[in-house]
Symmetry: C2
């Protein structure tokens, strides 16, 4: 782990006043120097959690305004509505007087019963177990350089993931496994995993010259994940006018659909 | 039209100061006395539009905190980040000092080229033309009473929609057509249509005793809709802990996917 901060340390916040929290954007939770969107989502949600009585983030919606830098940051939290069963809160991640991430979350209490699925085709995807999937060394090689995040976020991609071998399969879909080494997943992990896989667009067009910074990301959490690996399935349906979407489902090790996520991202391409 | 406000009148706002807009929540744009969520989404987005240079809402994410009443309301808008290509804005719809709707939107410029679809199975659903679909009279009968909104929002459901006849098909999916009578659709229509169909859950469990107030709704707009009917396809995948999700796609009359939407709603049921 190179001595870098654990997930819990990385998303820790310190109370600094009414609705004010200090945080530190740490190295190691980044992709090429840009702090990871899922990491930031978990961090601001941790700050918001301190201001409401309900324990669980049910829905978190974030807009990424400007990339934060490593170092000190402030999270300014406002309780929009405090309810008996649910509360809604907003957060602003600020550095140098510039708002970098804006988020709105609704907290409540996740129940223990598993979600009810309404369609036959909503089922945990059948993919090989993590040990039979592609490990981070292969993925980093495919990325052209080590990705700092991959040392802290264990990632295993489906063995048929073609872009890793320079042969994208043509469909903008990715499936794989996610976990924090040495830590069981919780709702904050799920928020982080919401943006935890490489862009599914890679499997349609390849990795080279494609960059997809997130603009808006919304995650709904439906259940506490069971211990073990979390399975992610992500898919891009369309791009238009320099934007693309990506939908994700996160399933825990018992086959429970624990969260859904959707993002709008910028689609940037350049020639090498 | 019963003399009720047109869509443009219903979502109109009047400047009342720096970042302050006056609006009127009008009757007729409601479901059983509750102002419609898509209508409110379009209204707050109209207010936000006045504060940014970019013409088009690309992404709007709203949290519904408390149902507004009919009558005067204020929309308080704050520009979070004004950029050259995109700007992000927040809005609060307030009545009687209580925040009813909180929204965050990113504006930009929709381009004229059609979206690129990355998967073969992302295609405009094949459904009968509007004139061969179920009209509002049938739907209102199925609802047990006329729905005010249905007089202002033309709605045609796929003829196989079973719940309308008391025989839900079992899959929580609905398809149909939407338009404003006498007005061609634009991005604001698309926002309204994001919540414009009855709950797709009806087709799984029937209409009786089911109520699904929206908690959080996010719509991404990818293209200006062409004139004519807009086709909607909505689907609920799961419910858990008193909540359910619903995903929607909106396709224009030329077969272009103009918007995607997702909501988290409360699932309330009661015995008759």
């Amino acid at each position: 782990m190179n001595g870098a901060a654990s997930f819990d340390d990385a998303i820790a916040v310190r109370t600094a006043g009414e609705g004010r929290f200090d945080a530190t954007i740490v190295e190691g939770w980044d992709v090429r120097g840009n702090p990871h969107g899922g990491y930031l989502l978990a961090l601001v949600t941790r700050a918001m959690r301190h201001t409401v009585p309900q324990p669980d983030p049910l829905s978190v919606s974030a807009t990424y305004l400007a990339p934060p830098r490593f170092g000190d940051a402030q999270v300014l939290v406002e309780v929009i509505r405090a309810g008996r069963r649910q509360s809604t809160v907003s957060a602003r991640l600020v550095q140098d007087g510039i708002e970098r991430v804006n988020a709105v979350a609704t907290f409540g209490t996740l129940r223990d019963e598993p979600p009810h699925l309404y369609a036959d085709d909503v089922a945990v995807p059948s993919i090989p177990p993590p040990e039979a999937c592609l490990a981070r060394e292969l993925i980093s090689t495919a990325e052209g350089e080590p990705i700092a995040l991959h040392e802290r976020l264990a990632l295993r991609l489906h063995p048929d993931t073609g872009w890793v071998f320079g042969r994208p399969g043509g469909r903008a879909e990715l499936a794989g496994w996610l976990r924090h080494p040495g830590r069981e997943p919780d709702a904050y992990s799920v928020l982080m995993f919401s943006d935890g896989m490489p862009p599914s667009l890679f499997e349609a067009v390849g990795r080279q010259g494609v960059h997809t910074p997130t603009v808006q990301l919304t995650t709904h959490v439906f259940a506490h994940p069971a211990p073990g690996w979390v399975q992610g399935r992500f898919r891009t349906r369309l791009s238009a006018g320099g934007f693309l979407d990506e939908d994700g489902e996160l399933w825990d090790s018992t086959g429970t659909l624990v969260a859904t996520t959707r993002q709008l991202a910028l689609l940037r391409t350049w020639e090498h």
